[in-house]
């Protein structure tokens, strides 16, 4: 009874519907000058002292508080669709060879230098010289060599610089930031020994030196990346033919280069980075921290300690990026990702299934723990591996997960994408071996072609009067930027061939949801939607198929063609050429055919965002696409005394943000036709059970059930709980508290064991009307059983998800119930809202998987410069005696 009252209370308190309504009813001031797309805009003198508006101004006159609590980002005269889009740059792992020569250069320490890549007059507030870091990363080999247990014997190579800054000596500051001891040693190290590795450093922005050119699988030699190919030139300027050398971190050519304190990316460079990894081949990332020793050298946001989370990899906890297992400047952390199919211990343990396989070139070999464990060599197109092929994943990303600073650090550039390649989804559209699904990709390489397989990182950003990236760390409800960047660029164009393409679209924002539409521009008014009056142009929506949701290929493709009722709401026309709402961290893989639907060579197409936000709590509404294209909905700059001070008339991140230019295609498109895989036709990767079948119902009836209820992002007197679990407590993030401890049903076994693993049902709910939460559960993807009590829409019905949108927005409901399966690895994982501002503000809870019959929960680490410790407190019930697990004296 009390519980019900409380929930009711939360709904009443949390719903800001009244305030939204009143904001809308306020008359808009006259839109005077300025243009939405990079027209009349600010100069250096436009913005105030620090780009922050007083509260009184923030709410005045129907303006949009975007960027959150700030003034509009000055454009420096930047025009739309004049710069070529950057494609992701591959890390390019190398074989890990214990007998190889050790590299000669050690991790370069920071030194004083000139802006933008260093800072004069300080070591601690500066960065390693760009050339030195480049040379260090470029050399082959790795030293010290990776170890099962954290390397606490070698010292942090930046020891003396750190001591100077701290003003005190450090006692054995370890080289590796991973906690010492067996609890954080690499689980099943020998079994999943990394045979390939790569080095990268989280570093301040610097000019790309091009050392990864030779690490690209295509080597700028073959396919569209080869000479004469569409993507041979990386940035569209003469100097970048077949190389990324010379590319600076710059949002637009008209804008200033980002300083090393403003943007912190993998390698410190753009293009953004991509890991191409294969099932069956464990990979190790040696992640160096090359960020400033002085925590204040951050232009106001971002923390120099980091913890890297491979979003939803089937990874053991020590390599999952636990929020409190962070590491310091000068240190590295070895993340080892086994790259095994879930079900490894229990399903297909003799590796007999052709669909569970490592995609390879003839002659390549890997170690397989099958019925006769040993090294296997490729004869055909792949090598069979253990596990459940229906758990095959495709499009991931990894990013920082630092306690309390995730939003700032990810926003600042700590985000990379990761494509998983399998025999099913191998990145070669020609190989016809009966397993390969032949998604659009290319044919030059046996796997991993990216000619027609494009990663897109879409995220909103803001910048200050100097053009440097800006973030307000004191926001209440979430942070919104005023421009959508694609692969770190403002409104780029991108050349495409007249053929099928796959786009892997990631929403990498902090608090912004997206609804993306694809339209073709038509000369004259013959299109279905009209352009601005008098412009003489119109637009038609372009149909496409969704093939992957949250990085997992679906059972069936889902056509957004205006014919199939994908949402089940009787309004299929509304969905033509328009993706469903996409929450933060969600990935949608789509296939677009630029040779169909009337598209001709020379045509221009646009990606358009039509989801409006007014604050970071939730999206406000889907703006009619026609209004956006006709510029009836047009955010404009409001100025006071000639100085832009706010956006009025709309959310400035609504509108066109990327142009696609269709070029002739002379080749032969051998990729799959997504129309052959719609419901009722062929299947891609079937779900492991049919939610409506009697057998599934019987199985689910026996699964343990957990309920997690998400409320507002801060506790208040009236609504003190932000996350409630199992109908009881609301729990905030104390990294040392466990909320759901699931026990693995089976311990790791020799090949041959069969069993079901631990299947549970989790209900994620958000009854408060005022907040939208994209909830992310680490480690495993789930199958949505019901959304809002009903069968989910097609794009979720055929999907395996790792982000669950709950709340008041258009394509969400207040509850989701899903089935989730725990196998293979144990340890400490997390579940949280992926509006990273909400997460940082305590919508994060920890859960653990323990080994059967054995307690494997570890007290959470407390890292320091001098190694990782833990505190012995009342919250950590070590005072108990008699259970055999007390502290050692």
């Amino acid at each position: 009874m009390l519980k019900h009252l409380m929930r009711l209370g939360m709904v009443l308190v949390a719903g800001p519907l009244t305030s939204v309504a009143s904001a809308q009813s306020t008359p808009l001031p006259p839109a005077n000058q300025g243009a939405f797309q990079g027209g009349t805009t600010g100069t250096k003198t436009d913005a105030g002292v620090n780009n922050v508006l007083p509260p009184a101004l923030q709410t005045s006159g129907g303006s949009f508080n975007i960027p959150t609590n700030s003034k509009p980002s000055p454009m420096f005269g930047a025009q739309s669709f004049v710069q070529q889009m950057l494609l992701f740059e591959e890390f390019g792992p190398e074989p890990l060879n214990p007998n190889g020569p050790a590299p000669s250069r050690s991790f370069p320490a920071p030194s004083a230098g000139s802006l933008p890549e260093q800072t004069p007059g300080t070591t601690a507030g500066s960065a390693p010289a760009g050339a030195a870091l480049e040379a260090f990363l470029a050399q082959q080999g790795v030293a010290p060599y990776p170890t099962e247990y954290a390397n606490t014997a070698d010292l942090n190579p930046w020891k003396s610089q750190i001591e100077s800054f701290l003003g005190r000596p450090l006692v054995n500051p370890p080289a590796e930031g991973r906690p010492a001891g067996s609890g954080w040693s690499h689980q099943r190290w020998n079994e999943f020994y990394p045979t390939v590795y790569f080095k990268t450093a989280q570093a301040g922005a610097r000019v790309n030196g091009g050392f990864r050119d030779s690490h690209q699988m295509h080597k700028y030699q073959v396919g569209e990346f080869g000479p004469g190919g569409l993507y041979h030139n990386t940035a569209g300027i003469p100097a970048t033919d077949g190389t990324t050398k010379g590319i600076a971190v710059r949002i637009h050519p008209s804008m200033p280069v980002q300083e090393h304190k403003s943007v912190w990316t993998f390698d410190g460079t753009v293009p953004p980075k991509l890991l191409m990894a294969r099932y069956g081949q464990p990979v190790l990332m040696r992640h160096y921290n090359a960020l400033p020793i002085d925590p204040s050298a951050n232009r106001g946001f971002g923390l120099h300690t980091i913890s890297t989370h491979e979003h939803n990899g089937h990874n053991p906890a020590e390599s999952d990026g636990f929020t409190n297992a962070f590491f310091f400047p000068g240190q590295y952390y070895d993340y080892r990702w086994p790259m095994q199919l879930a079900g490894y211990d229990t399903i297909n343990t003799s590796a007999a299934e052709a669909k569970a396989a490592f995609p390879a070139a003839p002659g390549e070999a890997i170690y397989v723990n099958d019925a006769t464990p040993g090294q296997k060599t490729t004869t055909g197109s792949s090598i069979k591996i253990r596990g459940d092929w229906r758990e095959t994943m495709s499009t991931h990303w990894f990013h920082d997960h630092m306690l309390d600073f995730t939003a700032q650090n990810v926003y600042k550039g700590n985000a990379a994408m990761m494509n998983y390649y399998s025999a099913l989804d191998r990145g070669n559209e020609a190989i016809d071996d009966g397993v390969n699904l032949r998604l659009p990709s290319g044919t030059a390489l046996p796997w991993g072609n990216r000619d027609y397989d494009i990663n897109l990182l879409v995220a909103d950003k803001a910048w200050d009067k100097d053009g440097q990236l800006w973030f307000n760390i004191f926001n209440t409800d979430g942070f919104l930027g005023d421009h959508l960047l694609t692969n770190w660029l403002y409104n780029p164009y991108f050349n495409v061939r007249a053929r099928r393409y796959r786009f892997r679209i990631l929403n990498g924002s902090v608090s912004r949801y997206l609804t993306l539409a694809l339209v073709r521009q038509i000369q004259g008014n013959g299109g279905e939607l009209q352009g601005p009056s008098g412009s003489g142009i119109s637009y038609s929506r372009v149909p496409f198929h969704m093939v992957g949701n949250d990085g997992n290929l679906m059972e069936h493709t889902v056509p957004f063609d205006g014919i199939v009722d994908v949402a089940g709401d009787g309004k299929p026309q509304d969905r033509k050429g328009v993706l469903p709402e996409q929450g933060i961290a969600e990935r949608y893989d789509i296939i677009v055919d630029f040779a169909k639907n009337g598209i001709k060579v020379g045509d221009k197409l646009y990606f358009v965002n039509i989801l409006e936000h007014q604050d970071g709590k939730k999206p406000n509404r889907v703006v009619p696409l026609g209004d956006v294209l006709a510029e009836k909905y047009k955010p404009v700059l409001h100025t006071t005394n000639g100085v832009p001070d706010s956006w009025v008339g709309g959310d400035p991140a609504v509108g066109k943000f990327m142009e696609l230019r269709v070029q002739a295609y002379a080749g032969n498109d051998k990729s799959m036709d997504p129309a052959d895989y719609v419901n009722g036709k062929k299947t891609m990767i079937p779900l492991k059970f049919d939610r409506d079948s009697a057998s599934a119902k019987a199985m689910l009836a026996n699964a343990r059930h957990h309920t997690f209820e998400f409320g507002r992002s801060d506790g208040t007197d009236e609504a003190p709980w932000t996350i409630k679990s199992d109908g009881g407590t609301g729990m905030n993030m104390d990294p040392r508290r466990t909320s759901a401890a699931s026990e693995l049903s089976t311990e790791s076994t020799a090949a041959g064991y069969s069993g079901a693993g631990t299947l549970e049902i989790w209900k994620i709910s958000n009854p408060s009307g005022g907040w939208a939460h994209p909830v992310h559960v680490h480690f495993e993807e789930g199958i949505i059983l019901t959304r809002g009590g009903k069968t989910p829409p097609l794009w979720e019905k055929w999907a395996r998800k790792d982000v669950y949108r709950v709340g008041p927005s258009a394509d969400a409901t207040s509850t989701v119930e899903m089935a989730i399966h725990f196998r293979e690895f144990a340890g400490t994982y997390m579940e949280h809202c992926h509006n990273t501002q909400h997460e940082d503000h305590s919508m994060l809870l920890r859960w653990d998987i323990s080994h059967p019959g054995q307690l494997q929960l570890m007290p959470a680490p407390l890292p320091t410069w001098e190694g990782v410790q833990f505190v012995d407190t009342t919250a950590l019930p070590t005072m108990r005696t008699g259970d055999g697990f007390g502290p050692k004296p």
Partner: protein, 336 residues
């Protein structure tokens, strides 16, 4: 085998280092750099402290300091007393650093009622020590501060006391690092965050417990979770000495409370203490009087939560008793 032992050689090295002095390294400890979150970000407002003295928010209260800032009102009967209680715990862990390089600021959002005198009495009830300032001032100034610190939404009503965010902001003004934390946080973690992270690790870490020797943790029950994140800010459960003494001055020890109190009464006291006080329940009033009129907060516990907490209190009391019994037995037969 895999953990690093701190050997005598290292100790000698450290001693030598200290003797030589840091300056011997040819560089001075870095002064924190400039931050964008400086005087022009924070509102130029002056508040009044519990002694009636004016305090400029930026210059007098946060400039070049590590601070925890929260917003309270002394008449709160819901969860917010927990904020103050949690800070009191952190105060104890930080010891004499509070007032030296770390400061707490508790600012009233009900300045009409919370005069300096009222705040002073409130501070005394919670045994707030030096370095912890309670502040009042003009409502509009305080509202502006709440906006700027990200603790008040633009669409929230500043006068709705019950809707106020319970989060606290901890930060280091000179390094520009600011974090929003929850009062449910473990006090030791909060103290570490303020004392080490935000203090730019300037002080040597205390000889810490080696992670390699960290014990395995057993699963916490729902009730234990609740007790440790909520009740434990004020109450002890059979602990003795040290911090327990200070806690027992503000709230009763709960050992065997499920046996010494009527269970129906106790369950209601856990779920709606404010109502029982309003109804002038004699036991409730007696408790309040005994503990300096410190209010037992209404934590909005659900029925399941209450049962879980009571079950834990019962279980833990038995365990503590049993352990005491064993210790006693051992003490009786020392030669055995």
């Amino acid at each position: 085998m895999h953990d690093r032992k701190r050997n005598p050689f290292t100790k000698a090295l450290v001693a030598a280092f200290i003797t030589l002095g840091v300056l011997g390294m040819g560089s001075t400890p870095a002064k924190a750099g400039t931050t964008v979150w400086g005087a022009d970000y924070f509102p130029k407002v002056t508040l009044i402290d519990q002694d009636g003295k004016p305090q400029r928010f930026f210059e007098d209260l946060i400039q070049d300091k590590v601070v925890a800032v929260n917003f309270i009102f002394t008449s709160c009967k819901d969860v917010c007393p927990l904020e103050t209680a949690r800070l009191r715990e952190v105060q104890e862990i930080l010891g004499d650093r509070l007032g030296k390089d770390i400061f707490f600021l508790s600012i009233s959002i009900d300045p009409q009622r919370d005069t300096p005198e009222v705040l002073k009495a409130y501070a005394k009830r919670y045994q707030a020590g030096p370095g912890w300032t309670f502040l009042t001032g003009k409502m509009e100034d305080i509202t502006q501060l709440r906006y700027k610190l990200g603790l008040l939404s633009l669409d929230s009503d500043p006068a709705n006391l019950k809707g106020h965010s319970m989060s606290l902001i901890i930060g280091n003004q000179s390094s520009g690092q600011w974090m929003k934390r929850s009062p449910y946080e473990n006090a030791h973690v909060l103290a570490t965050q303020m004392g080490s992270w935000l203090s730019s690790w300037k002080l040597p870490s205390k000889p810490g417990l080696e992670y390699a020797n960290a014990p395995k943790v057993r699963n916490l029950s729902l009730g234990e979770n609740l007790f440790r994140t909520r009740c434990g800010a004020c109450h002890t459960l059979g602990e003795e000495g040290g911090g327990a003494i200070a806690k027992q001055a503000i709230a009763p020890d709960l050992l065997n409370v499920t046996r010494t109190r009527d269970k129906v009464w106790l369950a209601r006291w856990l779920t709606e203490p404010d109502k029982m006080l309003a109804e002038r329940d004699p036991q409730a009033l007696a408790l309040q009087a005994r503990y300096n009129n410190l209010v037992m907060p209404n934590l909005s516990l659900g029925q399941e939560d209450t049962h879980a907490v009571m079950a834990f209190l019962e279980e833990e009391s038995q365990r503590v008793e049993q352990q005491r019994g064993q210790t006693a037995k051992v003490a009786l037969v020392p030669c055995h």
